[in-house]
Symmetry: C2
Subunit: 301 residues, 2 copies
């Protein structure tokens, strides 16, 4: 497995996802910005704004390299200045329609000249209103993709996702979870880097069919201004998570990453209302009650 | 100087500020919520929403006490479990009018049974569009209030404010600064706690005349949808600062404070736009160019 195969895959994945999203949106077009990193490497950030379905969609590819900055070396327990490569695809999609869920995916590969290398990433879903049948279907799709690498992967990575995407100050999960993994190397779970890379591609390739289905199932539903307002409040929680807790955001900003590419994850319009309390038994109250780690595969209505 | 004098002052200050803001707003009314802290003490959070001038104004009083939680003790270099009192008034005002500036004030007092005690706080201004004459006038008022405790205070606390309210990932100050101070005890700057408390009251009492004037000077100006949009984007920077960098926010959430009271500082409506770049020489570009530490007292147009 060569680095160029990985960067090529991540770059192609960005293209394929942008292409598919434009087909579904039928109106918006991605704007592609190339950027270079002074110390080595760069990336392409693609953003679609004010589409028919997608209010703001960001799909980023990057491949940076060079001597490892001190702060990264410390966090990763690597020698300062060791030559490294980091490459990946990440995306966050904020639909304008409150019934089309927000989705986030990140797949990444890190390699250091000391000989160590690993994959990381995940996919998770943040519906504004939780539809349990759709949450279940989403987890079934992730389980199928995970199982191509072994049946033990989905339960491990599902649990890690619930733990990571949690807002302690709200006592809420960010959404209905998904999968999350990091530092994947040959070992107990995979026998070789080639196996991991094959599996990573299965995860990446699951994105388009999953999200296309979620768009198509929800895009024609009618919605009210009240539901749009609830979407803007739920987006506030998304911002709180990304700025208060997300390690990728803090890491990126802290190490001098490209601010506009890192913060492309923030929603286009967000509301904060003091002490929003939904009416008892309303759809809003029901959704908030379900923002807890749930075994969606076993969920029965 | 007794603790009860301090808590009484902070509580009265909250009342006086809410009263004055209602007079200026002419439409909105504050909603007062009392809350109790399980381990001791509590507070009153006052929020005015959707007023004529004030889109969201939060003015909080609190007085909490009890054995010091471990995380607070570690941060403050105090023995774990030592009995403490913390009291203060804090406010953030988000006007609906893009030419009325956002203002923030915090005044606080901390006392530990080990015998140590200190005051902290500050006032700072975040105009959406910077009017240099108003920024200068604001700093003149703060200097006058500061000078009641000695001419050396304003320069020290002005510098500390510029350093604190800075967004490194944007290379921008949050606004036009103000004053910021912490751990004020008798020593080089003040000879007694009574002197510090007298000075703190001069700072707190400066709030109503300063902000009333800023409302009255700006509230009748005409504004365009473009200017309102710029306000929503500038509010995004405010959110970024508060969630990424503000120590009070992190400290409050981290130590189990009341989430709704802590996050009352977040604006009611916020926009994020990928790569917003203002037209050259526009008022928006001019404002962004002035988001740097500036000697406003000496500013010449």
């Amino acid at each position: 497995m060569e680095l160029i195969e990985i960067t090529t895959y991540f770059k192609n994945l960005q293209q394929e996802i942008c292409h598919q999203l434009e087909i579904e949106d039928k109106s918006g077009k991605f704007q592609f910005d190339s950027w270079k990193r002074e110390a080595g490497g760069g990336g392409v950030t693609a953003v679609l704004s004010k589409g028919r379905i997608l209010e703001k969609a960001g799909v980023a590819f990057s491949h940076i390299h060079g001597p490892m900055p001190n702060r990264i070396a410390t966090r990763l327990h690597q020698p300062e200045g060791a030559f490294f490569h980091a490459t990946g695809t990440s995306l966050v999609i904020h639909p304008q329609h409150p019934f089309v869920p927000v989705i986030h995916m990140n797949l990444r590969y890190f390699e250091v000249e000391t000989g160590t290398a690993w994959f990381g990433g995940g996919i998770d879903l943040t519906p504004c209103y939780i539809d349990p049948a759709q949450a279940q279907w989403f987890h079934q799709q992730l389980k199928s993709a995970c199982d191509t690498g072994g049946a033990e992967l989905y339960p491990l990575f599902k649990k890690a996702c619930d733990e990571y995407f949690f807002l302690p100050h709200r006592n809420e999960t960010r959404g209905v979870g998904g999968i999350f993994f990091d530092f994947l190397k040959p070992g107990d779970l995979f026998s070789s880097y080639t196996d991991i890379f094959t599996w990573i591609q299965n995860i990446g390739n699951s994105f388009n069919p999953i999200y296309t289905a979620l768009i198509q199932q929800n895009q024609d539903k009618l919605f009210t201004p009240k539901e749009k307002e609830f979407q803007c409040l739920r987006r506030g929680r998304y911002v709180e998570f990304n700025l208060l807790y997300d390690k990728g955001t803090a890491f990126g900003l802290d190490t001098g990453g490209r601010t506009e590419s890192i913060l492309m994850s923030l929603p286009p319009e967000v509301h904060w209302q003091y002490q929003f309390i939904p009416e008892p038994d309303s759809p809003e109250a029901l959704t908030l009650s379900r923002l807890q780690p749930m075994n969606w595969l076993e969920f029965k209505a």
